[in-house]
Symmetry: C2
Subunit: 150 residues, 2 copies
DNA sequence: ATGTTATTGAAAATGATTATCAATATCAAT
DNA sequence: ATTGATATTGATAATCATTTTCAATAACAT
């Protein structure tokens, strides 16, 4: 995702395009990993010393509100973040290691899943009056490394 | 769930059965709602003044480790908790209102879901070496009340 | 170029959860 | 029933992620 695309998106929503925001978006676009706010901050600090953790949080907040960012709660109070880059990649879910907190995407069975999701969302709307905007499927377990580490 | 069942479970795992724990379990068994630690604390305070919030957290921790409690992260750093009372009720998932934080269970489509889950878990094991222990499906949206409140 | 106003980063505040610790309660063994 | 070892309690303080505050700065429409 080239930088000027993001510039347009920010400007379009009334936000300004700044050096820290560009640095954050560059990092997020480059990695496509699940990062915590502090991990983003520490990565950026090398090439952009002086950047503030507050600014990282604020930028993540804007991205989430614009719908380009996915927040993954780990249950420890910490969240991990990932860019939603396009509609294909939108449909992946998470595999979370309960030992080390690592998050892995899985993208299998998108077809079957979509079917189930659509049915379910229709029922939920009828039954509970809920207007569904998003969903999040998470599998918990022990990753390979943590299984071997014992 | 009668209180002596819980007493047996606690004793069985080397924990003691105490007045605060009984009060907490009575509340959790009675309500079957999704409560935060503070909500549990405030409810108990009426009938059991002097109970400590720390004790609530510790009891929830024990229940989670024994596998009788489900922790639901809201993404705000706060968690909600619910008892897992039996294997039938084990398979429900959540409908979370992003406006007011309300959590609703849904239990529809258990059959189709199970099929999908089993397939997916097998693949995840093979592909990523993950040993799956649990899963959590969450749907996000706006509840009926919050839709009307505008 | 200039003025308005959003953004920045440091520091303090918040809110949920966890650790510490002396006093107390549980319960297995007598 | 009493005792003694030790798990539990609750108040307080500590952590940790995230938010708020605020004065200085930077972006950008004009």
């Amino acid at each position: 995702m080239p930088s000027h695309k993001w510039r347009k998106r920010f400007r379009g929503s009334g936000s300004r395009w700044t050096a820290p925001r560009e640095a954050i978006l560059n990092l997020l676009s480059r990695t496509s990993k699940h990062l915590s706010a502090k991990e983003i901050y520490r990565s950026l600090f090398r090439i952009y010393p002086g950047i503030g953790l507050t600014t990282v949080y604020r930028t993540l907040d804007i991205l989430e509100k614009m719908g380009y960012l996915n927040k993954i709660p780990l249950g420890t109070g910490e969240n991990k973040y990932e860019l939603i880059t396009n509609s294909e990649e939108k449909h992946h879910h998470h595999l979370i290691c309960t030992q080390c907190g690592k998050v892995i995407d899985y993208t299998d069975f998108v077809g079957e899943e979509l079917e189930l999701i659509n049915k379910t969302e229709q029922r939920l709307k009828k039954k509970h009056g809920f207007k569904i905007t998003d969903h999040n499927f998470e599998f918990y377990g022990i990753c390979k490394e943590c299984q071997e580490r014992r």
